[in-house]
Amino acid sequence: MNEKEQNFDRLKQLLKLKQHEVPPPGYFNNFSSDVIARIRAGEAGGRQTFADRIRTGTPWFASFMEIFDTRPGLVGGFATSLCLLLVFGVIFAEHSEESSDNMLVISGASALPASSVAPLTTPTLASAAVPGAQPTGIVASTNPVTSLQPVTTLFGQPGASPLFQSASFAPAGQ
C-alpha cells in the first residue's frame, strides 16, 4: 500500500498540471453579472418551467428527483415498475369486467322467475308487516334490473343503422 501511495505521488504531481488550466484572462469579470442577468430575464419572462416550479415548491419532490440524478439506473427500474403496474391494471380491469358480465348473465337468468314472483310476494310481505296497510307498489329488490323490452333510442329503432340513410338526388325541374 505504501509503495502504491508513493507511485500515486507521481500521479498527484501530474494531476497538479490541471490546476494550471485556466480560462482566458478577464474571464470572470462578467461571469456573475451574466448569471444575475439570466436570473432577471428568467424572472421577468417567467421562464421557470412547470417542473422547476414543482421542484422548488416541493422540496421532497426535488430530493426524490435528485435520486434519479445521481442514480440513473433507477429511472429504468421506476419506469419498468410503472409500466408493469399499468399492464396489471389493464388486465385486472378487463378481468373484473368479464366477471361482472358473468354475474349479470347469471343474475339475469335468475331474475326472470323472480320478476314473476315479485309482484305476488312483495305486496303480501308488505301487508303482512303492517296489518291493514294497503300495498303501495313500492318494491325494494336487490336483483339487478334487466329490461326485456327492446330499447328505443333517440336515433331510431334498434338494429337500424343510424349512420347511413339512403338518399337520392334529382336535379330541379325533373
Binding site: 507521481r10 500521479l11 494550471h20 488550466e21 470572470f28 461571469f31 451574466d34 448569471v35
Partner: protein, 207 residues
C-alpha cells in the same frame, strides 16, 4: 493563477467579512445583490470543478452558470443542513454528471490555456526535469494525455479525483457533496488512481 485550490471564503472581489449566512438569507428574499456576492465568492471554484470534469471551457461556462441559476431558484428549499458552498457544489456536480452522460463520446478539449506560471511550478519542474518521459513531451501534450486519461474514467471516479487531487477537497467534503459515505470516496479515489496510473503508465513510471 491557480484557480482550483481551496480558497478562503471571501475572495474574488466579494465583500470581505460579510458572513455567508447573511448573504444566503438576503438572497432567499430575492436580493440579487447578495446573490451576486455569493456568485463572485464561489464562481472560480465551481467553474474549475466543472471544467476539470468536462475539459472544455464553453461547456464549463454553461454548466457553471446554470448551476448558479438553479441554486438561486431552489434557494427556498435550502434548509441550511450543510453549508451553502457544499449545497451549491452538489448542484454543480449533479448538473455536470448529467451533462456528461448526455455528451458521451463527444470529447473535445480546450487545450490552449495553460497559464504563465505553469513552467515555474516546482512540482512540474521536478517532474519534467526528472528522468521520465515527461522530458520528451511538451506541457500541452502532457495536458492532452492527462485529460484523455481522465475522460476514460467513469464520472463518479473522475469527480472524486478532480475534487480531491486537483481541487484539494477533503474526503468528508467530497462525501457530503457526492452524497455517499467516506469509505466509498476512498475506494473510488484508490480505484481511479489505479486506473489513471494504468492509462498514464509511460508518463508516471519511474526509471
Amino acid at each position: 493563477m491557480i484557480m482550483s485550490e481551496t480558497a478562503p471564503i471571501a475572495e474574488s472581489g466579494s465583500p470581505a467579512g460579510v458572513p455567508e449566512g447573511d448573504l444566503v438569507r438576503r438572497a432567499r428574499t430575492g436580493d440579487l445583490n447578495a446573490y451576486d456576492d455569493l456568485v463572485k465568492r464561489y464562481q472560480e471554484r465551481i467553474y474549475a470543478t466543472v471544467y476539470h470534469m468536462t475539459s472544455n471551457h464553453e461547456d464549463a461556462n454553461d454548466i457553471a452558470q446554470e448551476s448558479f441559476i438553479k441554486a438561486f431558484q431552489a434557494l427556498k428549499s435550502f434548509k441550511g443542513g450543510s453549508s451553502f458552498y457544499t449545497w451549491l457544489y452538489r448542484i454543480a456536480v449533479n448538473k455536470t454528471i448529467n451533462f456528461l452522460k448526455q455528451r458521451k463520446n463527444k470529447h473535445h478539449f480546450s487545450l490552449n490555456d495553460l497559464d504563465f506560471n505553469t513552467e515555474n511550478n516546482p512540482d512540474l519542474v521536478a517532474l519534467i526535469s526528472d528522468k521520465t518521459p515527461f522530458r520528451d513531451v511538451g506541457l500541452t501534450e502532457l495536458q492532452k494525455k492527462l485529460n484523455e486519461a481522465l475522460l476514460r474514467l467513469s464520472e463518479p471516479h473522475r469527480m472524486v479525483v478532480v475534487l480531491h487531487d486537483v481541487q484539494g477537497q477533503s474526503h468528508d467534503e467530497i462525501a457530503e457533496i457526492m452524497g455517499c459515505n467516506i469509505g466509498t470516496v476512498r475506494s473510488r479515489l484508490f480505484y481511479a488512481r489505479q486506473q489513471l496510473q494504468g492509462f498514464l503508465a509511460e508518463y508516471v513510471k519511474t526509471s
